[in-house]
């Protein structure tokens, strides 16, 4: 049964990677990052099924969820600043760090 989790997680990771590489909208890129984080969590939970005593995989996945929430908050703040400064949501048009 675990291998089906691995297949789904691999598909999710690759779709997230393609979203990051193909889409130019910065919010789409952020959604791709969320997909990749979810793929990693799915792998952790799938292998945690064999650890009936300590559930370390689930613990790690929980920490990853918290980090992802913090990342989303900071990233969207940066997106708002970027839109206010550059008047665009296209990641290719943002060429300078100095706002």
């Amino acid at each position: 049964m675990t291998e089906y989790y691995l297949y789904i997680a691999a598909a999710l990771f690759c779709i997230g990677l393609m979203t990051i590489m193909l889409r130019r909208n910065v919010i789409s890129v952020l959604m791709g990052i969320e997909l990749m984080l979810n793929a990693a969590n799915l792998n952790l939970v799938a292998f945690s099924q064999q650890d009936q005593q300590f559930h370390d995989g689930q613990m790690f996945a929980m920490f990853v969820i918290v980090i992802a929430a913090a990342e989303a908050a900071v990233a969207l703040a940066i997106v708002l600043k970027m839109v206010r400064t550059f008047r665009t949501t296209n990641v290719d048009e943002v060429k300078s760090l100095k706002g």
Partner: protein
């Protein structure tokens, strides 16, 4: 019965992710992301991680997705006036890398399944809730990461407010 549910939710997860990739409208992509995240939560339940499934729904669907929606709404005026164009070679490269990586991982998992099937066997759904073990471990063995994460969340939220706010800005 469990297998049928697994296939349904797995399909929901992957199709939602494909919707994120293929929808040109950002709002529709966010709704596809909602479907994908709910599918992942259901897969957590099927893997016996009940508390993690509830956490996934509360944090991702209730928090991150709402943040993304706010981001879309706040950037919508600039987003819809510009049609993002990207080069053909880079598109081709993106598809190639994504599908190639998936083929690589797929073959790796098939091979792993052939070499050591006992690594991939799992007996789930026959144990009680994991919430007592998780809570106990969070307060004993994983206490230091837990506290560090609390500080990290505080710092990240303060930073987000500082960056997004108009503190010290001359004109809007």
């Amino acid at each position: 019965m469990i297998e049928i549910l697994f296939y349904i939710f797995g399909g929901l997860t992957v199709l939602g992710a494909l919707g994120v990739l293929l929808n040109s409208n950002v709002l529709h992509a966010a709704l596809s992301l909602l479907a994908s995240l709910l599918g992942v939560a259901a897969l957590y339940v099927l893997a016996g991680a009940d508390f993690l499934a509830v956490t996934q729904i509360m944090v991702y669907v209730g928090g991150v997705l709402v943040l993304v929606m706010f981001g879309i709404m706040l950037t919508k005026r600039t987003a819809e006036t510009q049609v993002a164009k990207s080069g053909l070679i880079r598109n081709l490269l993106g598809w190639l890398v994504g599908i190639g990586l998936f083929a690589f991982l797929f073959m790796g998992i098939v091979e792993l399944n052939g070499i050591s099937p006992q690594l991939l066997k799992a007996d789930t759904l026959d144990k009680p809730t994991t919430i007592y073990e998780l809570g106990g471990a969070l307060m004993s063995r994983h206490l230091l990461p837990f506290e560090v994460l609390a500080v990290l969340l505080l710092v990240a939220l303060i930073a987000a407010v500082y960056v997004a706010g108009r503190i010290g800005e001359k004109e809007g």
